[in-house]
Amino acid sequence: MENSDAARTSRRNALLGVNLLRLITLLTALPVIGVIVYIIVRGAPALSWEFISAMPREGMRAGGILPAIMGTFYLTLGTAVFSVPLGVAAGIYIAEYAPDNRATRLVRIAIINLAGIPSVVYGLFGLGLFVLFLKFGTSILAASLTLSIMTLPVIISTTEEALRQVPNAFRVVSTSLGATRWQTIKRITLPQALPGVITGVILGLERAAGETAPIMFTGAAFFLPLLPQSPLDATMALPYHIFVISTSVPGMPVEIQYGTVLVLLIFVLGMNVIATLIRNRARARRQW
């Protein structure tokens, strides 16, 4: 009797614990859902074809936000051009080639710490290196490079992690059949890790797309009457545009503010959804 009492108590406690965890999870999810719903409700009325396809008018108080959308698109693309090949290559090197010694551990720690640096520091670093020293000026090029440095640690770490998840048996088997290290990577390891790599790339770029601080010194403009014509032009961009219209333009219609935020949110969440779809698809197909 005593035993079954104890068992009943412990079962009840377990149930209580699980429910408590459920409640806490719900509480953490609530604010996120709240913010998203609020932005959709307030921003949706501003959305129209004109809003996303026209230039701003009347000191940005009317018209569309095309230059900011295009700017964020260019910056994300520019960031991808620099950070993807470099980050993936570095991730491959660290996971597959680098010997496990002190130097490698130091590099890995450096990369992890790089991910923890506040984004405004990247902005100032980009200002010093790309804008002033390399004389790229405030431009898409300088801002993309700055965002690339910020994105690199994410891409390197996720690439490394994705490669490490590929079972070692594949490497041994491939080697035993006469493969060089690179042949094994090219034919087996990298294709198997690719969904993870792509997910990491998208998440890294998504963060770059939403950042304000790294681009405000290096490439983002308050207002430009024309779309950028070359990588050496400055550009408007969604995150910085949101900062500008919510702090520095008197008489700004609230719908435009929320509408712009909503567009950025769709841009970033869209990338997130794509990353999730790729990951789930790959997981379902994986043979190991």
Partner: protein
């Protein structure tokens, strides 16, 4: 009987200082089933992995002695290990098809060599799968993933994959340890045919299998080769007490 591979005074040490092979000398006899057996940790797998330099991947630190294959000491740093691994193929204890189709699994080694001739590849797939007694079961699902096959089929696929490279030696490290008796019988039966054309080194998964298959058998204990003799001799009239104890099941 001639030696296909001659291991001479081989001592291998892991980088943590643990000796895994102590002064082992053994002649692997050509066109025979050479069985290496003994309790776990005896050094059998380590020896196999030395024979095709797969130890390069692990943290084996020092190697003393010689392994002579085709008149070459393969422990020589100048050895072309890629070429060596094509000639001395390896089948692992757990069936490990690569994440590719059945067809691509079989010709993986040939693809690595840059072989593109479709008719040659087709021919080699059929030939290798027939040798591995698998063709009749998979000829109509060559494009299915290798992992869609049953465990026993997967292991025969791994054997076919090695055979496709037309190796001189095939090493099987407890190839049937994860398989049912029927699949085991198929693989053991295959060995008798295969040895007509190539040299087989088998680490069996128990003494019974060792006794059933061995033309020559070597008993390994704690990194030493205790005894090496023709199979019948070793299992019926072992010279060493340690061998006798193990073979008769008194320990192990």
């Amino acid at each position: 009987m001639s030696a296909k591979i001659s291991v001479q005074n081989l001592t291998l040490m892991y980088s943590d200082g643990v000796e895994s092979l102590q002064n082992v000398s053994i002649d692997i006899i050509a066109n025979a089933v050479n069985v290496l057996f003994g309790p776990a940790g005896g050094g059998k797998s380590t020896l196999l992995r030395a024979l095709n330099r797969l130890n390069d991947l692990a943290d084996v630190d020092t190697a003393q002695g010689k392994i002579v294959f085709n008149e070459q000491n393969i422990l020589d740093p100048a050895t072309d290990v890629i070429e060596l691994r094509r000639k001395v193929g390896m089948v692992f204890s757990r069936p490990a098809p690569l994440p590719l189709s059945v067809y691509e699994n079989v010709i993986y080694g040939l693809r690595l060599m840059g072989e593109r001739n479709k008719s040659l590849l087709d021919e080699r797939v059929e030939q290798s799968l027939r040798q591995a007694v698998l063709w009749d079961e998979v000829y109509d699902r060559l494009n299915d993933p290798g992992t869609s096959l049953s465990g026993g089929q997967q292991q025969r696929l791994c054997i076919a994959r090695v055979l496709a490279l037309e190796p001189e030696v095939i090493m099987l490290d407890e190839p049937t340890s994860a398989l049912d008796p029927v699949s085991t019988a198929k693989i053991e039966g295959m060995l008798a045919t295969l040895k007509e054309r190539l040299t087989i080194i088998l680490v069996p998964h128990n003494v019974q299998q060792a006794a059933r298959t061995a033309d020559y058998a070597g008993f390994f204990l704690q990194g030493r080769l205790v005894e090496y003799a023709p199979g019948k001799e070793l299992f019926l009239k072992p010279r060493e007490k340690e061998t006798q104890d193990y073979v008769t099941g008194r320990f192990g």
